[in-house]
């Protein structure tokens, strides 16, 4: 029964693969053949497993029927594979169709012959140990012939893979062919191992090899289903390095673990049951520990190192050097890291059209607002796009000619889109590599990792291009206006009756990283964030802007509250300059339920005025800043507070409570509470302005840190609905 289970597991996986392949193969020629192959393999694995289950002791007629269906399905799956191999990458003329039709008809005839005669499988006989299959007189010949033709087709595919000019097609063909050669060899060896024993010589042996037949099928189906979906070049070098690293690590903990387990079992200190459960668990735990170790310590061995240098270089581009210098430096850094010459930058001109502001080819382009290509790209949730994807992925078929023309104009092979939510504000076009090599999936990940930096540059370029003012006055001041206006314009103010909201943000350098944001989720729910991005001036403001944009993007795809916060944490840790962190609060206001759900991410102050107790209650609890550790999930504690009529919620960043006067006394929570209490009868705006006034009076107008303050009043007189 143990080995029979393998067939059912394989059947389930094959069904899943056929489902996945049907989704991937939409619009791809030959894709349906992979779906057919996966389905036939699934039927094979299922019926093959059922033979063992339903055959009793003695001759089994249902077992015989199922066994023949299994063999016929295997034959049809191999026929599908042969047609797929011969017609790959797409149907090629009438000859291919004729050959495919001949093979298809042959397959059907073969299936009918297997199911309807005794020549392939003559008898199924159940014994207490399992099932014995008696081969017919045509078993060996038919099996060898079919396997031989399939192997020849795989060899043909391998040959075409080596010759293909298109690297993606070549990669697809090689993956399928190599997997098929191994899979077919496995099928043949396992199938033949049985035929000799229960053929004419008729030994009464139950063959374990038959139980494993579904596994090679799984290898073939898995490789084919994966290969048809490939749209980026696979980096074999990186793959081998990672595989080697993980293999060495697995051996380091796997071998000792195996040795200890074996020793305990063979010395009789453990029964077989304990290691059966315990060993895999211990293996998984050890694997997790090794993985953590490898991520921390062996990152530089496992990854190419250009990524970190590039990130650092982009972070240190001097934005005050002027637009041309910024563009030239961006070109130099990216060109050096990715080994390309041609480079172009397109920026949105403020009216919705895209204009090239830099092109090493000397050409210029304008993509008008409302163009089909632009609108289509905006609907696709992509930030990095390789030319190989444009050419190979059917999702891009609709705008393929236009996009290809655009890329060809700049001799481009890859684009990074800078987006604010769905809207695109800029595009960086990278040319082909000097070495002639294609961009790989590793480069794709590298582009994604520097996305945050490129967004900052795009945002800067967009504003410099639009505001000639910045050429003559302080760029920082001009940009601050842009940044703050953008940030304020995007806030979905809470307009529910009964809720009065006001906030204030003040920065020490005109610019700052403090921000407040509300996003309307539904009629009665608002997402809320208040906090402080570390750093000062332009860089903090840019980081604030990026984070605000990313939070809104994550909100569209992440429904779990803690998972959303973890995403933001990971984004800060992996994409923002080293040392950047966010201290603040994330929350949801549910106006209908009069409740506030929140996660404290290092906010120092969250006070709730309770009208029942006539007192301010510290409700923020413990919190952890975001951007310090890679995975903050274990530390996140979602909380809920009720907001009865008459209550007031006050939250602020450390700039408020830690501001000092000339005697080095801190403003502190007590003064904050006093300041709010004095104005409890007023509206939220008056309270907010009053607190800021008191704070500046306290510090004699001196401000050493950015300040954010939020006040929300839940009115007593009206119900909150």
């Amino acid at each position: 029964m143990g080995l029979t289970l393998l067939s059912f597991i394989a059947a389930a996986l094959l069904l899943f693969l056929s489902f996945a392949a049907s989704r991937i193969s939409k619009g791809r020629q030959s894709g349906w053949l992979v779906v057919a192959m996966d389905l036939f393999f699934a039927v094979f694995a299922l019926t093959h497993g059922l033979v063992d289950l339903i055959s009793g002791i003695g001759e089994s007629t249902p077992g015989l029927a199922l066994s023949r269906i299994a063999s016929a399905s295997l034959g049809l799956a191999l026929c599908s594979f042969i047609v797929f191999s011969l017609s790959f990458p797409g149907w090629q003329g009438i000859q291919a169709k004729i050959v495919a039709a001949i093979i298809a008809i042959s397959g059907i005839v073969l299936a009918a012959w297997i199911i309807g005669t005794d020549h392939y499988i003559a008898l199924i006989f159940g014994v207490p140990e399992g099932v014995i299959r008696f081969a017919g007189d045509g078993y060996d010949l038919a099996s060898d012939l079919l396997a031989g033709i399939a192997l020849a087709a795989a060899a043909f595919l391998l040959f075409r893979g080596f010759l293909a000019k298109d690297r993606i097609e070549s990669q697809r063909a090689l993956i399928v062919a190599i997997a098929a050669i191994f899979g077919l060899a496995g099928l043949w060896v396992l199938g033949r191992a049985g035929s000799g024993i229960h053929g004419a010589s008729g030994g009464m042996q139950v063959l374990w090899s038959f139980h494993l037949l579904a596994l090679p099928a799984l290898v073939m189906a898995g490789a084919a289903s994966y290969a048809i979906g490939i749209v980026r070049i696979f980096d074999w070098g990186i793959f081998v390095r990672r595989l080697l690293s993980w293999t060495i690590l697995a051996l380091l903990y796997g071998l000792p673990l195996g040795a200890v387990t074996a020793a305990l079992v063979f010395t009789g200190r453990l029964s077989f049951t304990i290691p059966l459960v315990g060993a895999p668990l211990a293996f998984l735990v050890a694997r997790q520990l090794a993985r953590g170790f490898a991520t921390r310590r062996l990152k530089h061995i496992m990854e190419q190192e250009y990524r970190e240098g590039l990130e650092s270089g982009l972070s240190h581009i001097d934005l005050s050097a002027g637009r041309d210098a910024v563009l030239a430096e961006t070109h130099r850094l990216l060109g050096s890291a990715f080994d390309f010459t041609e480079f172009a930058v397109m920026i949105e001109d403020g009216k919705g059209a895209f204009r090239s502001i830099y092109a090493s080819t000397g050409r210029s382009a304008v993509v008008e607002k409302g163009s089909k290509m632009l609108e289509f790209i905006e609907t696709m949730d992509v930030t990095v796009l390789l030319k190989s994807e444009v050419m190979g992925d059917p999702r891009w078929a609709e705008i393929r000619p236009a996009l290809k023309g655009f890329l060809d104009l700049f001799r481009g092979e890859a684009i990074v889109f800078a987006r604010e939510g769905r809207r695109i504000i800029g595009a960086f076009v990278m040319g082909s590599r000097r070495s002639g090599a294609d961009y790989t999936d590793y480069d794709y990940e590298s582009f994604r990792s520097i996305y945050g930096k490129l967004f900052v540059i795009a945002y800067y370029l967009k504003n410099v291009a639009r505001e000639s003012l910045v050429r003559t006055v302080s760029r920082e001041l001009a940009l601050s206006d842009q940044v703050i206006r953008f940030a304020l314009d995007k806030i979905d103010r809470i307009d529910a009756p009964g809720i009065d909201t006001a906030w204030a943000t003040l920065s020490t350098h005109t610019l700052g990283g403090d921000f407040v944001d509300f996003v309307r989720i539904s009629k009665t729910r608002w997402f809320f964030v208040l906090g402080d991005i570390s750093g000062k001036g332009l860089s903090a403001a840019m980081n604030m802007l990026i984070l605000k944009s990313m939070i809104r993007t994550f909100l569209r795809v992440e429904k779990e509250f803690p998972a959303l916060v973890q995403r933001v944490n990971a984004f800060i840790k992996e994409n923002m300059p080293k040392g950047t962190f966010f201290a603040g609060i994330f929350g949801y206001f549910d106006v209908e339920r009069k409740a506030f759900y929140f996660i404290n991410c290092g906010i120092p102050t969250l006070l709730l005025y309770s009208p029942g107790f006539d007192a301010f209650i510290d409700v923020q609890g413990e919190g952890r800043i975001l951007g310090f550790v890679r995975d903050v999930s274990p530390f996140l504690k979602p909380r809920k507070i009720s907001l009865p009529p008459g209550s007031v919620l006050v939250s602020c960043t450390d700039g408020v409570t830690e501001s000092e006067n000339l005697r080095a006394d801190r403003f502190g929570k007590e003064r904050l509470i006093r300041s709010v209490r004095e104005r409890l009868a007023s509206d939220a705006r008056t309270i907010t302005d009053g607190v800021v006034e008191d704070l500046l009076d306290f510090t004699a107008g001196r401000q050493e840190d950015d300040i954010s303050l939020l006040v929300m009043k839940f009115r007593q007189s009206r119900s909150v609905t």
Binding site: K578, G579, F581, A583, G623
Partner: protein, 108 residues
């Protein structure tokens, strides 16, 4: 004290960066520059007994230095942080991640 005063000294083969005054939005750049220069030479101890303010910008500088030290296999410790500095570390929620020592002997 409104000025940041940073001095370097070698003690028992260890580079000690002694910091006095406020690390805030006006002074963190100087702190970052000197800390970067010091960590480039090797392991560093930051003496923070006389730090009067430690803002988020300053914590960010120390976090980045900790990351660099971990990546580069170097040591970075914080010697006797002032009450203000300790509270600032605590406010991150990750006080245990800041390698605080009370004496250089703790490094032995």
């Amino acid at each position: 004290m409104t000025q940041l005063d940073i001095s370097e000294r070698q003690e028992g083969g260890i580079l000690v960066l002694s910091v006095a005054g406020p690390i805030n939005s006006y002074t963190f750049s100087e702190f970052q520059e000197k800390l970067d220069r010091a960590t480039a030479k090797g392991s560093v101890v930051i003496e923070m007994e006389k730090v009067t303010t430690l803002s988020s910008a300053g914590i960010g500088v120390i976090m980045a230095a900790l990351d660099d030290a971990e990546t580069g296999g170097k040591g970075l410790s914080i010697l006797r942080p002032s009450e203000i500095a300790r509270l600032a570390f605590e406010s991150t929620g990750f006080i245990e991640r800041f390698p605080v020592i009370s004496s250089l002997k703790d490094l032995a």
